[in-house]
């Protein structure tokens, strides 16, 4: 396998206010994110030579972007890969530019989740009428918590409190993110007392159902400085798809996700990262549920397997910690409009690496990681972004 390192740069990004956008439709969200990105890159809509759009189920075909932005006669491709959909749009745009076919491309992701009439992503998976009729995302991830606690001998109270600390951290970071769905501090006690969604996961262990969009303008690395002094370079992209039905795969241990580990391995190899914990300045990862963030620490090599609990207690991943994780509040506080999330995580790393992250700025951030995980697990993307110019 080759490497994508230093072939492509991000020269502009946009992100809508995330939240319950009752007054905005999909087109409004697309316009809001795209125009911020155009302005940030200093380009006009007609400078885009190709686009990739990611949405799980808020629209079909590339035409939704053409219609919203009145961009005509360029290739626009809709992509979908569960919760990694936004990253998939970015990845395709990056490879489109890296191929030499296009100088400038756009990746945009969005989701309009608040038009369904119910919370969450709905009940049931797959096309068979009965096999997974009442499966939900919280159910799948609660299995991970159930097995993690069971395997490592963590009792329910202790486990719930560990997870609560992740929620409290991400909510705290979210208070410094003006575009986040929530800007509200919460306490461990609040998390523990919240209603159970899918035991052991309570309300504050679950990310909200959110509307939003985010966009990136991609260009050839050698052209990036023509647009801005501080472009952010793609250092590596790893993507791994494992079974859609890990629960039926013989021997699956429910303690983490092979797709995460493989996507990270690919990205680290391309970026030349040997010790992610030491070399990365920050990471924005897929905390759809608090337990997901816990196993991601281990899957992405931020700590050894089975050691996440002690790192959580030590504050390793807080804003002031050794490796800040989810500096913008993560899915937990920023929200999770599925198709947008891979680009929202990128938006945070991009701004952190440019020193534009305001009160949550990580000092001297030069190398950052963002990650999404689609599920029922296992579709994972890990990208590494950096400020070091190509050599």
């Amino acid at each position: 396998m080759g490497t994508i390192k230093d072939k492509v740069a991000i020269i502009g990004m946009g992100c809508t206010k995330f939240g319950e956008r009752w007054d905005s439709g999909p087109e409004d969200l697309i316009i809001e994110a795209a125009y911020e990105a155009f302005e940030d890159a200093g380009i006009a809509p007609d400078d885009i030579e190709a686009a990739w759009v990611g949405t799980l189920r808020s629209g079909e075909a590339g035409a939704i972007v053409a219609d919203a932005l009145k961009i005509k006669n360029i290739p626009i491709t809709r992509v979908e890969n569960w919760c990694a959909t936004g990253h998939e749009a970015l990845r395709n745009a990056v490879f489109g530019v890296a191929s030499g076919m296009y100088d400038i491309a756009m990746a945009i992701g969005y989701e309009k989740l608040k038009d369904t009439g119910f919370g969450g992503l709905g009940v049931g998976r797959g096309s068979n009428p009965v096999l997974q009729a009442r499966a939900t995302a919280p159910s799948y991830f609660s299995f991970i918590a159930n097995r993690y606690f069971h395997t490592y001998g963590i009792d329910d109270d202790e486990g719930k409190e560990l997870l609560a600390r992740i929620a409290v951290k991400n909510h705290h970071n979210g208070t410094m993110s003006p575009k986040a769905h929530f800007q509200k501090e919460i306490t461990v006690e609040q998390v523990l007392k919240a209603p159970i969604i899918a035991w052991p996961l309570g309300l504050f262990d679950c990310c909200p159902t959110t509307d939003g969009a985010a966009a990136a303008i991609i260009c050839r690395a050698d052209l990036a400085k023509n647009f801005r002094a501080d472009p952010v370079y793609i250092k590596g992209i790893g993507f791994s798809v494992d079974s859609m039905l890990p629960m039926t795969r013989p021997g699956f241990d429910y303690l983490g996700f092979e797709a995460n580990r493989e996507a990270a391995r690919q990205a680290y190899e391309q970026a030349g990262i040997r010790d992610p914990r030491k070399e990365l300045d920050l990471a924005v990862v897929h905390d759809c549920f608090t337990i997901t963030e816990l196993v991601i620490y281990e899957d992405l090599g931020f700590t050894e397997r089975g050691h996440a609990p002690e790192e959580i207690r030590a504050g390793t991943f807080t804003l002031e910690g050794e490796l800040p994780v989810n500096t913008d509040g993560g899915l937990k506080s920023f929200g999770h409009p599925v198709g947008a999330s891979g680009l929202r995580t990128t938006y945070e790393i991009y701004h952190q690496l440019q020193g534009r992250a305001g009160p949550r700025q990580v000092k001297d951030a030069k190398l950052g990681l963002c990650h999404t995980l689609g599920g029922p697990p296992q579709v994972a993307c890990v990208t590494v972004l950096g400020t070091d110019p190509p050599r």
Binding site: T116, G117, F118, G119, G120, G122, V123, G124, R125, G126, S127, N128, P129, V130, L131, Q132, A133, R134, A135, T136, P138, S139, S142, F143, I144, N146, R147, H150, P195, I196, I197, A198, W199, P200, L201, S243, L245, M247, T248, R249, P250, G251, F252, Y254
Partner: protein
């Protein structure tokens, strides 16, 4: 001569104490408790579980017919016996038929099976009877009725109880009925319907049977007499001259209730569980006439958990409100539509029938890996289309991972979504734990499979297997 070789049954786990009715309405009720099909059970699920119960004892070899009897089949147009045959994992090359419309349907099916086997057109016919009739709220029926199913195999060989004599009488009378538009059972004034219906007709059939066999009531080891309720049953026993203390099969009114078309069959199964070689049983059922027959017991019948096992495992239903909600009498807060309802239906259900209705998994012929759903390419060794289908619901399993999901909807919340590790090759099966106290589940809880109703997507009844906490074998 043809007879019954194996017996099985299914009684739902839930029991409602009859005090619940007097508490709800200020009167009525009666002694004991009744069985209640849970929110995910109906006539068909009970029928399948009864069929599986008897097949665990009998095996599937040589079963070449399945007759089903009920007054509450869940489809007006669509055969029930085919669903039961498929879920029971029988060969499709069998004869199937439904018997309906009468409380006597259970024995009608039994007699038809006997005819087929005696005539030589079938070797072993599985007869299943199941009912979950509904009485009007605040009616006596509401409290008297129970839900349940029985299953017997009628065979030519290895017969445990030969049926040697029989009498059938037809009686056109509107004593209890439901029109095609009725949900609840209606009835005429009870003095009339007992005199000219149940008591008169059943008495006539039994007396003709005894006379034809040149027997007296004292020659009967056990009288298995259907009854609508305790009082009429007791009166018939006395009127026929049976000793209520020694000769009469327990009509199960205080433990199960009147299970309609299944009732005589459930009582017969319970009687055969106890019967020994040399016993002579008299079975009589009533409904628009009467069937009476004599059974000569040759040996103990092979049995599944049968009636005794199911009566022994019970959970108390906590309230009258749950009873009326489970039976669909009151409409509860609608849930968001299930996503599968939007795009799923007949063709997918048909295509996937082996792994759903039959709960087959695939066992790799090369490396032995067992998976569910069926995988054409082995997860472990990538062998392509080189597997054997195996039935997974016979083997117990244990909870590998679980949750109590309050988002998953349904009438009972939380839904205990779980991953079961089967004793069949450690196969992982995504399932739902039912009939369980959500607080009592843990990793490692032993479970058994049970056939249940999932939802009404595509305007159909969608059935599948769930798990429940393992009950003690037999």
């Amino acid at each position: 001569m043809a007879g019954i070789s194996s017996v099985g049954a299914y009684i739902p786990m839930y029991r409602l104490p009859r005090t619940a009715f007097s508490e709800a309405w200020g009167s009525g009720g009666g002694p004991g408790e009744r069985s209640v099909a849970s929110h995910d059970e109906d006539t068909m699920t009970m029928a399948v579980n009864a069929a599986v119960d008897v097949l665990k004892a009998h095996g599937r070899d040589g079963i070449d017919g399945l007759f089903f009897a009920s007054t509450t089949a869940t489809y007006r147009e669509k055969l029930s016996a085919t669903l039961i045959a498929a879920a029971a994992d029988l060969d499709p090359n069998i004869r199937t038929a439904d018997f309906a419309g009468s409380l006597r349907a259970g024995t009608s099916a039994l007699l038809a099976a006997l005819d087929a086997v005696n005539a030589g057109s079938a070797k072993n016919v599985l007869v299943v009877a199941s009912d979950d009739r509904q009485g009007y709220p605040r009616s006596d029926f509401e409290s008297i009725f129970g839900d349940g199913a029985a299953a017997v195999v009628v065979s030519r060989t290895n017969v445990a109880a030969e049926i040697t004599q029989r009498v059938s009488i037809a009686n056109e009378i509107a004593d209890v009925w439901r029109r095609d538009s009725d949900r609840f059972v209606r009835s005429w004034e009870d003095r009339f319907i007992i005199t000219h219906g149940y008591d008169g007709t059943t008495r006539q059939a039994v007396q003709e049977l005894l006379a034809g066999a040149k027997l007296t009531p004292a020659d009967i080891t056990r009288a298995v007499l259907y009854g609508p309720e305790t009082r009429s049953h007791t009166a018939l026993v006395r009127g026929l001259g049976f000793d209520p203390k020694t000769q009469v099969q327990d009509p199960l009114f205080t433990t199960v209730g009147n299970t309609g078309a299944a009732h005589a069959m459930i009582m017969l199964v319970a009687a055969l569980e106890q019967a020994k070689a040399g016993d002579r049983l008299l079975l009589a059922s009533y409904g628009d006439g009467a069937d009476a027959m004599l059974l000569e017991v040759k040996k103990r019948a092979k049995k599944g958990r049968a009636v005794s096992g199911h009566v022994a495992s019970r959970r108390v239903l906590p309230s009258y409100e749950r009873f009326v909600a489970y039976r669909g009498v009151v409409e509860t807060n609608p849930e968001p539509p299930l996503r599968v309802e939007a795009w799923s239906g007949s063709s997918i259900a048909w295509r996937d029938r082996a792994q759903t209705i039959r709960l087959h998994g695939s066992k790799c012929n090369r490396c032995g890996t067992v998976t569910h759903p069926i995988q054409r390419i082995c997860y472990q060794c990538r062998a392509k289309d080189d597997f054997t289908e195996i039935r997974l619901y016979d083997k117990p399993g244990a909870i590998y991972a679980f949750t109590r999901d309050n988002l998953a909807g349904g009438l009972e919340t939380p839904v205990i979504n779980c991953v079961v590790e089967s004793q069949e090759g450690q196969c992982r099966i995504f399932s739902i734990l039912t009939d369980a106290d959500p607080a009592q589940v843990e990793v490692g809880t032993p479970v058994e499979f049970t056939f249940r109703k999932m939802h009404e997507g595509a305007d159909q009844h969608n059935y599948y297997w769930k798990v429940r906490p393992a009950t003690d074998g037999r």
